[in-house]
Symmetry: C2
Subunit: 222 residues, 2 copies
Amino acid sequence: MIRRHPLAEQAAEELLRRIGSGEWALGAKLPGETTLAAQLGVGRSTIREAVRELAGRRVLESRQGAGVFVIALQVAEDWDKVLRKADITDVLEGRLAIETEGARMAAIRRTPADLKNFRYTLADRQRAAVKAPDDWYIEADLAFHRAVVTAAHNAVLTELFDTFVPRIRRAMIDMLKLDEEHRHRHDQAAHEAIADAIRAKDPDLAAARSREHLSAVRSAVN
Amino acid sequence: MIRRHPLAEQAAEELLRRIGSGEWALGAKLPGETTLAAQLGVGRSTIREAVRELAGRRVLESRQGAGVFVIALQVAEDWDKVLRKADITDVLEGRLAIETEGARMAAIRRTPADLKNFRYTLADRQRAAVKAPDDWYIEADLAFHRAVVTAAHNAVLTELFDTFVPRIRRAMIDMLKLDEEHRHRHDQAAHEAIADAIRAKDPDLAAARSREHLSAVRSAVN
DNA sequence: GGTTGTCAGCTTGTCTGAGGAGTTGATACG
DNA sequence: CGTATCAACTCCTCAGACAAGCTGACAACC
C-alpha cells in the first residue's frame, strides 16, 4: 500500500468527510474508538491520533468516559491561507476598507500618544525612504500604517490589520524587486497628509486621504 | 494527582510554552518521542497525541524518519475567538468598514444577477420584518447584507463578512430579546436606499448610505 | 410516588513492547 | 571527486493491558 500521508491523517480526513456529509450532526456522539477502528480498518491508537488532530482543529471534543462529540461542522477559516491564495488586488481592497475606517476613527479618538507615534514613525519612514535597504523601508512604511490603525482604538480593526500585514509585506517585496522607481513614487507627502487630517480631528478628510493613498497603491500593482 | 485536562493536552500546552519561550526556533527539530516522553514524564503515545494535536493546529509537522519540526511560532489567530471576546461596538465598526467598502465596490461591479439577488433578499426581508419569528428575520437581514458584499466581487471582503456573521447574528439575537421594538426601528427603507445607490452605480452614495445605516445599528447597541 | 445510592458496563486515557517504514549522514568504493 | 551502501536514527502502526470517568438501570429508602 502506497501512502503519501500517514494513516492517522487519512483517518482524520475521513472523519472530516463524514462530518461534512452530515453523517454526524453538530453535537452528535461518534461511535467508540474500537468501533471506529474496526470500521476504518486501522488500530485504535491511529483513531485516537486522528481524533486528537481534529480536536486540535476544534472540530471534535473527547470527554473521558462519555465519548467523542462534534463541536463544529467545519474547520475555522485559516486567514493566512485565505490571504495567500487571494488576488493581491482583493487583499489591497480589504486593506483599504480597514485602514480608511481606521483613519476615520483615529481622527475622532486619537490621543497625544498616538500623535507622538505618528511623528516618530513618519520621521523613521522619511529616513528609510532615501537610504535604507528595501526591508527596512517596508517595515517603516508598515509601522506608520499600523500607527494609524492603532490610533482608532478598535481591537478588531487592529487585529484585522495585523492579519493582512504578512501578505501585504510579501506583495511590497515583490513590487520593489520589479520596480526600482517605486520608492520615489510611494510618496512621503501622502502619509503626512493622512497624519495631518487625523491630527486636525477631521474624520472625513482623514478617510479621504487614506482612500486616495491606498487606491494609488492598489492601482500601482496593475 | 488531580487532573482537569488529559495528560496529552497538558503535554501539548507544555510544548507550546517551550516553543513560545524560544527553546525551539522556527524550523527547529524537536527531540525524539522517547526523549520528550522521558523529559515530560509521560508515555510515548501521550507525546504522540500532543504532537498530533499541535500538528492539527499547524504549529508542528512530523515527517516520518526525519523528526518533528516547528512550522509556526504561534497559533494562527482564531478569528471566531477574537470576535467572541471583542467589544460588540468594535466588531460593528469592523463590519462597517467591510460593508461600506463592499457597497462602494458593488456600485462599480454589480451585475444583473446581483441586482436580482437584491430584489429577492429585500422582498424576503420585508416579509420577515412583519410576521416571521426573530431568527427568520435575522437571517433575512443578514442575507441582504451578504448580497451587497457579494456584489463587490471581492473574495477577501466576502470572506471577511462571513467571518463576522456568527458574532453579528448573536448580537442581533440579544438585541431583539432586550428590545421588542427594535424590528420597527430597523428600517426597511434604509436597506432599499443602499440597494438603489448600487443599482444607480453611484459608489460614493452607496458607501454613504451603508455608513449611515450601520452607524445607526452601532449606536443602537449603546 | 419520588428521591437517593449503588453498580455494571460502557467510554476515553495512558503505558508498554514490538515491528515496519522512511530519512539521514557517515563510510567505503570506483 | 562522485556514487553506492548501510547503519542508526526517526516517526508510524498495531496490540494488549489496565486506570479513570461517565451513564443509565435498578434497588433501597423516605
